[in-house]
Every structure is written in C-alpha cells, then in structure tokens.
Point group: C2
Chain length 157, copies 2
DNA sequence: TATTGTTATACTCTATAACTATA
DNA sequence: TATAGTTATAGAGTATAACAATA
C-alpha cells in the first residue's frame, strides 16, 4: 500500500489501481474486444454471438435433450428456448420428442443446418485464430488453457 | 482433423470440438462464473457489475472528463451517462463543468462516495482474490497478466 | 465542422417466476 | 412431488442515431 497513487497527468493516462487485477474487469474488457472481432469476421452472416456455438455443439451432439446442452453451455432454459426457436425458424435445427421421456426435446441439425455449420466453420476457426492480436502463439495457447481450467473444461478436447 | 468426433455417451458428457479453444466462448463462460462470484460477494450492497469499477476509477482519477473515463473503461457514452446519473442520484458522485471546456463534465466522488468505496474496497479485493477457484496462485497471476496484455493494459499497475 | 455529452430506441444476454406436460 | 420445457416480464449491458451545446 506504499505505492503512491498518482492522479492523472494526461487525459489518456488513467490510474486503475488494484482493479486492474480484477478478473471480472479484465474479462469484460476482453469480451468486448472478442465481440468486436466476432462482428468484424462473422457479422455479415447475420449471426449473433452464441448462436454459432449452439449450432456447432448441436451438430457435434445430435439428439441430445436441449436442457443438457443448455446446462453445459451455461445457457438458462428460458434463453435456450428462444435460441432454439430462432434456429428452428431459420430451418437450421429440428426438434423431436423421444418416447422414453415425452417431456424432453431432442435437437439435431437439419441438412441446411449441417451445411451452414460446415460452410462457416473455416471463418469461425479463422476468427478464433485472429482473436489473438497482442499475444504470441504460446501466450495465446496458455491463455486458452488457463481459461479452460478456470471454467472446469480441462478435458474439453 | 483425424481426431475422431465422439458422439455423446452419457448425457453430461458433451463434445465441444474446436469450439473449446474459442476465446469468445471461453470468455463468456468465465464471465458468467465471475459474475456469480460478484453477486455472491457484493450482491448484498445493491451494486451492479461495473458500477463499483466506475466509482473506483473516478475515485482514483478525480475531476477527469467522463468521456475520458468511459473510453478507458470501454463504456459507450450513452451507457456512461446512465451510470453517472445513477451514481449522482445515489449521492456518490458529483459533476462539474470546467470553464476551459464547457462541453465536458468532470466527475469526482462526494464524501459519501469516497466513504462507500473505502468501506467496500476490502470486500471487492477479497472478491478479486476469491475469484480464483481452480487455479493455483501462479496460474491465476499468469491468467491476469495475459488478459492485461490481451487488453493492451500491460502498464496498468 | 468537430467534439462532449444527452436522449431515445432497440437488441442480446441474463434472471426469475408462473405455467403446461409429463414423470 | 419433481423435472423438461415454455411463456412472460424485467433488468444489465451494449449499439446506433439524432440532438443540443460548445469548441
């Protein structure tokens, strides 16, 4: 605490203090930056952040209850319903109700949805790579690994 | 690409594929987690995520134009106006218009605001420390450093 | 003309509660 | 009673555009 707190000298030089080590603050800044990259790279498709992820995961896990996917993606049920509804309206996803539990709804990609994901996968993966602007390859990899661990997803790959 | 794509085996075992390395996806998950921590730790104060940060930075940088703070915090002007208005309504912040540029608005904490930040600083810093659940101290420090660099804030401290 | 901040509007994501239907 | 999903409503954050005052 004996580090002097310097007031501003120039108007673009602002003191953050200990808040610069707040993960919540850093995550918000990073997400704003990542969203900018998302819209710059995939905005022309009319995609919203999160939509492509849901389609992707449905494609990798066909005929799973939507609740299971929502829990894993940390999407609340009410929001998941809306996401799925939009995807169904767009003809990308279809629902089915299994006989063994008629409360649940299974999701799978339609042919159109499968094509959509396949067609845009390169752009998405390129986006993932280009999200890195200031970090070298090794730093970027470390950041991804630490975030995976922070999120309890070490075993994701 | 010759890694086999395994479909689900148990309903809580879901394939993510390459999306597990998407920074945008990981950042969203991490932010959800960090917000949970925020509300668990500071929710009783009626604070919203971001509000304490703004008060903190105003306290460290008194009598700076609100636009300069908003740019640095990546808060859009329209949103900043609302944040400041709520803080003023709560008696935590006061505005002033400098003679040398009567378009701008300078912000500083009121006595009440100064006390509010000082009183809740320990809880906030404790929150920062407790944000780390799955990472050891060194990993956490690395994560913070890499996020600072990603955000162009290496010189923040 | 450009800049600072405000107002108005809308959209995304999140949160909660009440509801239906199945179990 | 509990669970899966839906509907409705609200709030936080963000985005854009139009505007007023000032530079």
């Amino acid at each position: 605490m004996n580090r002097p707190v310097r007031n501003h000298t120039a108007s673009d030089e602002i003191a953050f203090g200990e808040i610069g080590t707040s993960l919540g603050f850093l995550l918000r800044l990073a997400q704003v930056r990542a969203f900018d990259g998302f819209y710059a790279s995939l905005g022309h498709l009319g995609l919203k952040p999160g939509e492509f992820t849901v389609l992707w995961v449905i494609g990798l896990n066909p005929d799973l209850p939507q609740g299971a996917i929502a829990r894993k993606l940390r999407i609340k049920p009410a929001h998941m319903t809306k996401l799925v509804q939009r995807a169904v309206d767009a003809g990308l996803v279809e629902r089915s109700v299994p006989d063994d539990d008629r409360r649940s709804v299974l999701l799978r990609l339609t042919d159109k949805g499968t094509r959509f994901v396949a067609d845009n996968k390169p752009a998405f993966l390129n986006l993932v790579a280009s999200e890195n602007t200031r970090l070298d390859a090794q730093e970027f990899e470390t950041l991804v690994r630490l975030l995976q661990k922070f999120n309890g997803l070490e075993d994701v790959k």
